[in-house]
Each structure stands twice: as structure tokens, then as C-alpha cells.
Amino acid sequence: MMSVSINGVDFKNPIIAASGTFGFGHEYSEFYDVGMLGGICSKGLTIEPKEGNSGIRVFETPSGMMNSVGLQNPGVRKFIENELPYMKTLGTNVIANIGGASIEDYEKAVMLINETDVQMIELNISCPNVKSGGMAFGIKSDVAKEVVSKIKAISKKSLMVKLSPNAENIVDMAYKCVEAGADSLSLINTVQGMAIDVRNRKPVFENTFAGLSGPAVKPIALRMVYQVCKEVNVPVVGLGGITCGEDVIEFMMAGATAVQIGTANFMNPLAGKNIVMETEEFLKKNGVKDVKEIIGAAQR
């Protein structure tokens, strides 16, 4: 009743833990059997280990939060060596989220992931592109298209491209990424925001800007998912502010085949589990036999 499939990869249910909010699955395993989730996206991985940003890394906003972790991660090799074996024991799909500051970075990371048994790659194109003066790959469709087609050419895994809501034109971005070979899309990553510490007269974050997530952004995320689903014919995974079963239903009715849960995990460590149960309950209550029936139900 709850299973969905994305590009040949089967998910026992459409609820996936979002990258960067679920570590490599260890921590939340202390709270519930995370194998009940449809999948887990790893923390964003880069070819070399990254220390992440200095200064404050998190700031609460009304119904949301901003983070500036800066892709702190052990690097792809250590991930494969130390984290993946554990993740594979969890009994759910493992999605490797890959970041990079250059196309070569992405390529190297993907080559290594190719040789593992992760089910899917999620290509995070929100990373600052060192070669174009730090503007993220995910802003201009043509820049994104280049990296996606290069990665598609070498990827042996199903390739999901994770879009940034900061893209100049989300629909064009989606279209170009699919054109370049994306097997599926996920959206949204965090929305660029900022805060100012009025006592120090300085931005709160050392990097000035940070990424906004959580319930505050849900209306924006849902709108983008709806727009993108209307335009492309690959599976779309929706996320951004989902905290309950009804939110999942909204994203799926907008056209998403599956969803991811990010900030909600922080609001309640059992969020993933609860959301799976709530979604199932909603379907039962409303006489929906198969979750796939509601995908795109609100498109018109």
C-alpha cells in the first residue's frame, strides 16, 4: 500500500530521511528502527573530508531554522569505509548525497560511490562552485546542466539531482537537469536567508548567509514541487518543512513520488516513524488503497 518506486529502486514507503539531518543513521537508530523508513540520504559527502564552517552554525527563525554547517563530512572514502557498512545493515535504501566545489570533485566522488552498493546518488548542486566565483551550481540552469550531464555520463547509480530553491528559474532548472540526464529530482534544498545580531551589529553567521529550512518554507517548497512536477516526466522527491502525514500527502498530491524529512527530525527524534504512521493512517481513513494513487492528484 505504501511502496513506491523511483527509477527502478523500490522504496517500502515514500518517506526518506533528508541529507544532513540524519547523520549516517546511527543516532536516530537509538530512538526507533530506522529501517522502517523508505530510505536515508547520507550527510552531504565531498571527495575530501571537510571541517565545515566556523562560528555559529544554527539559528532559530519563526517556524524554521537556518544552518551553516558547511558540509562538514568525513569524505567519501571514509564514508565507504566506516559508515556505509553500518547503513547497509539498517534495512532501508541508502542514498549517497554528493557535494563538490568543482565538476572534478563531483566526478571523483561519484566514481567511488559507483563501486559501492548504495541504491542511489543524490547530487547536491547547491554547493558553491569555486570556478564561478562561489555562486552555487544550482543557480543558473546552464551551469547545472553541465555538471549533471558530466555526472550522468559516469554514474552507474540511479541519479537524483537535488535542486536549490535559489535557482533563478526552478522550472527551467528542473527541465535542464532532466535533459542532462537526471533520473529523478529532489527539491528543495535550503532557502538562502540571513540574520543580524543587532547588539554586535554584525551578521549572525560568519558566512553572512545561511540556509533556511523547516515549516516556514513549506508553502514555497510545495509550490516549486507542484511547478516542477507539471513540467518534467521523471519522478520528483519533495521536501521542505514536512512535519506530519498530511504534509506528505500535500507534496504527493502536488506530484511528488516520495518525500524527505529534514528539520522535523530535530523537532522530534521520532518524526520519521510518526510521519510514516500518520501517512498510512491518512490513506486508510480516506480509503486510498495505494499511495501511488494520490501522486499528482491536485495537479490541474
Binding site: E27, F31, V58, M65, Q72, F266
Partner: protein
């Protein structure tokens, strides 16, 4: 571990001095000193990490300072209200090991960082009543938690910036690490850095409890990173108590 955010009852919530509140909740989990709870304001997305100050008969006592939105909401709670808490979290002070290897212990607290040091001193004394504890508490002006810490200290020294109580100046003016086998410390980062430097000079062991903004509280999000000689550590999971020699300020 079966803990999770759950609603529990407020048994007491009162202002102990200007802007400093004592909160007692119903809670049965056993807690190590230095561990904390995430307390979730009704209007917030993220829990507020607050250290345990005392545990007693299925209650947990916190002591918190009025800072911003969340603690303001806490300050308005009344007895009988419910509140969402999640804990205990973090490593805490390993009292058994500390007491095994150290007999002369300095317990140093600054400002609201004194809160976890109450339970720390208490648990040390409970583990081995023969250990010698000298507590050093520093405050800006108002002093609090003095009676509590005295109960568990063989000696107590106090400093205030304004000189309203005890020594006028910093608590670090009073501390001589050479006199101790170990120093246990919680307070503003700048104070802990000073304490660690003093301990390094005298070669005294020192454990400090770090304060970082948090989101998940369980080690999954990496927003609470503390840089250490051994690489990035998560304050919520690997800490908040770290070896002072390891932390890179």
C-alpha cells in the same frame, strides 16, 4: 535508550534572583551531572539545551537564565503546566572515574554555568564522601545557588564583577590549580579558556562543559561542533564535557 520529547508536569517554576529561574519537573530518568535536557518552547522549532542542576525523588531541577524567546516562555510557566522535554542527553561528567583518580577537586562555575556544577559536586560527594571539594563560583553581581553548592563543598569561594559578594573580580583570581588533582568547570567560554590555560601551566587535569547552539541534540546534524585536537566533536553527543587540553578555543 527510549527517551524522546514527551510532555511532563511542571512542579515548580520560580525566579530565584533577577532573571534566574528554578524549574522542577516530574522526570524519572537517571541523570549524570553535566548532562542536559532539550526543553521545547511551545512556539519554537528547536529545543533549548538546559543542564540538570539537581535530581531528587523522580524530579529534575533546572536553573536557567532569561535570555531570549524560549526562556521567556519558560519563565511564564506555572505549576501544573505541561512542558515538552527530551533527555538526558550528552556524556556528562564521569563521576566514578573522576573520583577514582582524584581526591582534591576544584569545582568552578561562572554565571548560569554554576547550575550543572551543583549536581556535579553532589554526585562526587555521594560517590566518595572523603573527597575534598573546593568550589569557586563567579557571578556578575547577583549570586545564586550558593546554599546548594556549600552543602557539597568543603570550601567555597565566590567572586563577583561588581564586588557585591565575595572577591571583586574574576573567579579565576581565586583559583590555584596547583592545589588540585583536577578542575571541573562550566561557564562562559572566555572563563573556561582562562581556566584551561591556568591548568595547563600547572599541569592540572581539567574537564570543561561546552556551550554551543544546538538543533538535534543527538549528534545527527553537526551544528554544535566543537573543534578539538582530535578533530571536530559534537558538543551534544561527544560532549558537552570535554578534556580541557583537547578543546581548541
Amino acid at each position: 535508550m527510549s527517551i524522546n520529547y514527551y510532555e511532563t508536569k511542571v512542579l515548580e517554576n520560580s525566579e530565584v534572583t533577577n532573571g534566574i529561574y528554578k524549574l522542577v519537573i516530574e522526570e524519572k530518568n537517571s541523570v549524570k551531572p553535566g548532562q542536559f535536557y532539550m526543553i521545547l518552547p511551545k512556539t519554537a522549532v528547536l529545543g533549548r539545551p538546559i543542564s540538570v542542576c539537581k535530581t531528587e525523588n523522580d524530579t529534575v531541577t533546572f536553573c536557567y537564565a532569561l535570555i531570549g524567546k524560549g526562556t521567556k516562555e519558560f519563565a511564564n510557566m506555572k505549576k501544573g503546566d505541561t512542558i515538552k522535554v527530551f533527555g538526558p542527553l550528552g556524556n556528562g561528567f564521569d563521576v566514578e572515574n573522576i573520583i577514582k583518580e582524584n581526591k582534591k577537586i576544584a569545582v568552578v562555575g561562572g554565571g548560569i554555568g554554576t547550575a550543572p556544577m551543583i549536581k556535579t559536586a553532589e554526585d562526587l560527594k555521594n560517590a566518595d564522601n572523603s573527597c575534598y571539594i573546593h568550589s569557586f563560583f563567579g557571578f556578575r553581581d547577583d549570586v545564586y545557588l550558593e546554599e546548594e553548592i556549600k552543602t557539597y563543598s568543603d570550601e567555597y569561594s565566590c567572586a563577583t564583577n561588581t564586588g557585591s559578594h565575595g572577591h571583586k573580580g574574576f573567579v579565576t583570581d581565586l583559583l590555584n590549580p596547583e592545589e588540585f588533582d583536577i578542575v571541573l568547570c562550566c561557564g562562559p567560554e572566555i572563563m573556561m579558556q582562562k581556566v584551561v590555560n591556568m591548568c595547563k601551566e600547572s599541569g592540572t587535569k581539567v574537564l570543561i562543559s561546552m556551550e554551543k547552539h544546538m538543533a538535534c541534540g543527538v549528534g545527527a546534524c553537526l551544528v554544535c561542533t566543537c573543534k578539538t585536537k582530535g578533530g571536530n566533536k559534537r558538543t551534544c553527543k561527544d560532549g558537552p564535557v570535554f578534556d580541557g587540553y583537547e578543546v581548541e578555543f
